[in-house]
């Protein structure tokens, strides 16, 4: 009897041990499994995002040769040069102006379109498709369209301007107008995406909110101001930050429409990086610019994460 119970106790202990081992093994197994599922993404992120970003920071402290190998360590010199260079300062200035020109207008127009396209009217699907169409139009194609529209002699815009009795405008050649022209193109291109997101946001607002407002006898604009806009604020916030980030990353329309000119008026930051790196082969200084871009976008995303979603809603 006592031997049997002794055995049982021993058994118990050895079982405990087995459990522990098995549990440990399972933990390791599930860890490996998780990593296996994630490894393709992690690998590619490491190779094509994290490493290049670190390398960019590293490069920004060096001079390089034309193949991109580092030659001389220069410390902060690249940055000092940047912030004393009138060309780069101008580029920063243009970038910020560009954000200022494009973001509010894009959002307001898209919001307007989303609101009118959210009504339950016959055939509204057709209009939605039209409004979102620019999302399917590539930078290259859109730039070509506008290149023609901006054409000083044949362009449609100048035809209108002249018909109205004004002097023809050098849309892409006049330093006073070039950035505006690029902005117009960009706004037109961005509307498709922002419209689609905002429309989605509008449609996810519960209809009972409107129904109860109807019962209270609220007017159209009252509902717009008191229900639609507040309920839409998370979406609006998202759209604004995404549009800002996109604006910082603008490249294609510059490359086709102005190549940064005239007089560096439209030399936005990504174009400036591109030119510095792949035209002038100044990889160190280009990297320093890239780091500046990185910090700008980091700030924007940080703001988005911090104030995103819920909070905006209850402002």
């Amino acid at each position: 009897m006592s031997i049997a119970s002794d055995l049982a106790v021993q058994n118990q202990d050895s079982m405990e041990l087995v459990f522990k081992q098995v549990r440990k093994k399972q933990k390791i197994k599930s860890f490996i499994k998780g990593i296996l599922f994630l490894s393709p993404s992690i690998l590619l992120f490491s190779v094509f995002l994290f490493y290049p970003m670190l390398r960019t920071i590293y490069l920004s402290f060096f001079l390089t040769d034309a193949s991109g190998s580092t030659t001389v360590f220069v410390g902060w010199q690249n940055y000092i040069n940047l912030f004393t260079s009138p060309v780069f300062l101008k580029s920063m200035m243009s970038t910020f102006l560009f954000v200022l020109y494009t973001v509010p207008v894009t959002v307001i127009i898209s919001l307007f379109l989303a609101v009118i396209a959210n009504e339950k009217l016959k055939g509204v699907g057709f209009f939605r498709t039209i409004y979102s169409s620019s999302m399917g139009i590539s930078v290259a194609a859109a730039s070509v369209f506008w290149l023609y529209l901006f054409n000083p002699s044949m362009g449609f815009l100048n035809m209108i301007v002249e018909a109205l009795g004004f002097e023809a405008i050098g849309w892409l050649t006049d330093p006073a107008w070039a950035l505006v022209s690029i902005s117009i193109t960009t706004i037109w291109m961005n509307i498709g995406f922002t419209f689609l997101i905002l429309l989605g946001g509008l449609q996810s607002i519960d209809s009972y909110l409107y129904e109860s407002a109807d019962i209270d006898g609220a007017g159209y604009f009252y509902k717009l101001r008191r229900i639609t806009i507040p309920m839409l604020s998370p979406t609006l916030f998202f759209v604004i930050t995404v549009t800002i980030i996109n604006a910082f990353q603008t490249f294609g329309q510059i490359d086709i429409l102005t190549q940064g000119g005239p007089a560096n008026e439209t030399n936005l930051i990504v174009y400036s990086i591109y030119r510095e790196a792949f035209v002038n082969y100044q990889f160190g200084s280009a990297s320093a610019q890239a780091v500046v871009l990185f910090i700008l976008i980091l700030l924007m995303t940080a703001i988005q994460f911090k104030f995103g979603e819920r909070k905006v809603h209850y402002q």
């Binding site: 118990q12 079982m15 087995v18 459990f19 098995v22 549990r23």
Partner: protein, 372 residues
């Protein structure tokens, strides 16, 4: 033979609060075992530990006399039915039923054989090519059952499988599940928070509260001899009438809630009832209607519910609300003072402090025996 045995099973998610505390029990082969308890008491957790979906923090779990703590679910040879049925929405009924067999690489011929048999048994033969969303709640439930039946696992676990169905269908399915279990000789562990389900289906019931076993026993035992105040008020509908009670100094009377004196035979009062704070309980059906001659009390009715075949009445007893359940239809109005008969042999005695049962009702038992 014991199919499932739990020895001091404990569970904690965060190493601080124990969700389940030293649960020990054994379930016989072919038994319909019901786990019942209020929401959050740890029923699902216990079931999922048996299934292997949740780690066992401490203790030993045996299935068929083999320790299985460390085995993954698929090696425990059991089936499980979930509250939301867990049907694969993109598969047809047939594919859903065969899902597990495919995973286990059962031969095609046998798959078809078992499918046909099960579908027939469950009345699903007509529905095999439908998708789950084209089925009614009851039909989905049946598919979920079929999936478990077709696996031919000897142990079946169910977690509140009927709670998404309407009352009438639920009553039907109760019978169906019960019949199926008996017919296939399944060992069933069935979780519910509905005590009616527990009472009507279980061979044995375990009442769980806050991760602690309150009582394990046959439904009738739980009803007649609730081990503590929790079981007394959880099992039975309406719940057992409870009230604080004190003996008069000469033990000729027991005074409930200070307002309801019950005549006692002083000699029958056992010593252990004398020096504790008492709570007594009485079932609603044991507060009988009294005639003028045998009424023990006159109570003022504060509410009347007519259920057709029976009538429930409510009274204020001190701070408690008591109910009486009388067969038949009684034309009684709120505010009437009516004669009732409450006798001492129907009282259960509890210790108010430990909440444990001290003495069960003596009359209840003999009555049930007669009924059989």
């Amino acid at each position: 033979m014991e199919q499932v045995e739990l020895i001091d099973i404990t569970k904690s998610y965060d190493k601080q609060k124990k969700v389940l505390n030293e649960i020990s029990l054994s379930i016989e082969k072919g038994e319909f075992f019901v786990l019942v308890g209020p929401s959050g008491s740890g029923k699902s957790t216990l079931l999922r530990m048996i299934a292997g979906l949740e780690d066992i923090t401490d203790g030993t779990l045996k299935i068929n006399d083999k320790v299985v703590n460390h085995l993954p679910p698929k090696e425990r040879n059991l089936s499980m039915v979930f509250q939301n049925y867990a049907l694969y929405p993109h598969l047809t009924v047939e594919q859903n039923i065969l899902f597990g067999l495919k995973a286990k690489k059962v031969s095609k011929v046998e798959q078809q054989e078992r499918l046909r048999e099960t579908a027939e048994m469950m009345g699903l033969s007509e529905l095999l090519s439908r998708k789950p969303r084209e089925l009614s709640g009851g039909q989905r439930q049946r598919v979920a059952l079929a999936r478990s039946v077709v696996s031919q696992a000897p142990l079946c676990l169910m977690d509140e499988p009927l709670s998404n169905l309407d009352a009438k269908l639920r009553a039907n399915m109760r019978v169906e599940i019960r019949r199926l279990q008996k017919r296939l000789g399944l060992t069933m562990i069935y979780v519910t928070h509905d005590q009616v389900e527990a009472m009507t289906m279980g061979d044995r019931i375990m009442v769980l509260n806050d991760g602690i076993i309150q009582q394990i026993g046959k439904p009738i035992t739980l009803y007649n001899e609730p081990a503590n105040l929790f079981v007394a008020s959880f099992i039975g509908s309406p719940k057992m009438n409870l009230g604080k009670a004190k003996f008069s100094t000469d033990y000729k009377q027991l005074i409930i809630e200070g307002v309801l004196p019950i005549e006692m035979d002083p000699l029958s009062v056992s010593e252990r009832l004398k020096d504790v704070n008492l709570t007594v309980g009485i079932r609603a059906e044991h507060i009988f209607s009294g005639m003028e001659e045998n009424a023990t009390h006159y109570l003022e009715v504060v509410n009347v519910e007519h259920l057709g075949n029976e009538t429930t009445l409510a009274f204020d007893i001190g701070t408690e609300l008591w109910t009486a359940k009388w067969p038949g239809q009684w034309m009684i109005n709120v505010g009437d003072k009516i004669p009732v008969r409450i006798s001492v042999e129907h009282l259960c005695y509890f210790d108010s402090d430990s909440e444990e049962l001290l003495k069960a009702a003596t009359a209840g038992k003999s009555q049930e025996v007669v009924a059989i």
